[in-house]
Symmetry: C2
Subunit: 338 residues, 2 copies
Amino acid sequence: MNKVNVGILGATGAVGEEMLNVLAERNFPVKNLKLLASAKSAGKNINWNGKDYTVEEVTEDSFEDIDILLVAVGSGVSRKFSPIAASKGVIVVDNSSAFRLNDDVPLVVPEVNPDDVLKHNGIIANPNCSTIIALTAINELNKYSKIKRMIVSTYQAVSGAGVKGLEELENQVAALGAGKEVEIDTFQYQIAYNLIPHIGPFYDNGYSEEEMKMQNEGRKILHSPELNVNCTCVRVPVFRSHSESITLETESEISVEKAMELLKDADGVKLVDDLENNQYPMPLDSSDQDLIYVGRIRKDISAENSLVLWCCGDQVRKGAATNAVQIAQLVVEKNLVK
Amino acid sequence: MNKVNVGILGATGAVGEEMLNVLAERNFPVKNLKLLASAKSAGKNINWNGKDYTVEEVTEDSFEDIDILLVAVGSGVSRKFSPIAASKGVIVVDNSSAFRLNDDVPLVVPEVNPDDVLKHNGIIANPNCSTIIALTAINELNKYSKIKRMIVSTYQAVSGAGVKGLEELENQVAALGAGKEVEIDTFQYQIAYNLIPHIGPFYDNGYSEEEMKMQNEGRKILHSPELNVNCTCVRVPVFRSHSESITLETESEISVEKAMELLKDADGVKLVDDLENNQYPMPLDSSDQDLIYVGRIRKDISAENSLVLWCCGDQVRKGAATNAVQIAQLVVEKNLVK
């Protein structure tokens, strides 16, 4: 593959750091690497593949010598800089939610809709972590028989709130162990030994932003405008992997045996479903790797043409960094870099 | 109310201990109190309401001077002793699953089907904790428009496995904090910072025993043999309160406003649903008290005549001990003690 100049905006965050790991692991064809962040993080040194890099403050002039920019910052900062980079011929892979639903921005899970990258206009969006995990899990089932409705309950790790989320759980557990007051900063309430059914702002329809992403992004990625999803998103005291309990109603029946067969060979999926030997997906097992673990597959006993399953995936990796690097790989493979 | 002679079998377990608390809090009309347990716990002293009691080893002859026996032991021990007690004229309130689905044993959530206690033949069964919590939450909705189908994902506290479950989470967190190996004994895998989608043995249909209880017990308690429930039960690293994400399809539409109105006045329920002020049920808030907190009520955007809600309740109290004492209260109020 041709080597390309890669930039990372937000290189010092949890996702940016993981992007660096994934680029190295996958031998991504990096010609030059440029690490960008806010003024606060500028000047930090980061060693990547045996070489030291200094993080630079991002400005409008940061993008001249970049082919592919991986953006791992909040949507406000992305909304400012991604279009500037794109206007200079950079292909931006944006992990924020800023452009995901824009008509001229492809929203891509490489296992699901790789060819959508071809329609890019400078920006390609990386979906929400819970959406990536669910869609990777159900992709082959949807191809076999179109999914009409999903009912999803999530169990989302604190890493979804970045390094601060990870630290908050750790600090709260330590404080409680030492008999001290718990400090609450990143999450709305104590997350240690608790659950918080509130991720992102609430809309007037009673759903949170995070809950609506599953339907809105799912329809776009699956090219299924008629897909209906009711989702409940819950933060749980787990570090890295999101888990999801999914009921999916399909146009025609998919037997459990067929579902197992489809998932056994599905890209990006590891089928973990052997109840006799207590084998099923768990967040601890699925952390620090790239596959979505799928199991507990069974017939929905409450409806026809409906399956129930349980899946887990590392939120920082496949839910964010890995998926973005996979998109960048597609960009290179399909010779989209001019 | 007439005073009655009360016995507790399993007085030293997590649920037995909480039964003693609830009896005292509710000024239950106790004439004499007899505390029974296995040989291992016999001889222990327990102070109740300012008086010391010695725990006695349970034998076939333990029940002569008891009117109501609260049973808080596993189903094996209950299967042995509950029928013996009943044969001696004792009214047994059994927290185990041993007799729940027997035709001649009422299965009672006092807010839902109080009159079923009248049909007892010596044994009245206390439902599964997750079932009690869900049915208390949805009872008024079901009365307004019959529930045809429920899709439930649970987030179950470690207290469901008794004192050992509570200790295991605590010990694992402490071990990890000290950089030591985690010991696994009560649960199948590490529960600290993890989720385990496995509660009770698995059946051939791919559901766990705990998952099937929601439908089997729900049908009996609601007198709805046609109720269909697909449930996914997951153990989470939370101490006392179970949480449940519930989608419920009803015969006719229940508006969100109507649901709020019904739940505001529902027995045993505290409506906690004020999104503007970040008010929703959480396990920490709902621990150590008797109400089921219900909130996040919204229209199911994926189907007609369907609502979505989130509820939390203390598993040891309303999920077990309190519900059993409430049944005993019904027994006294309805003059069932001969």
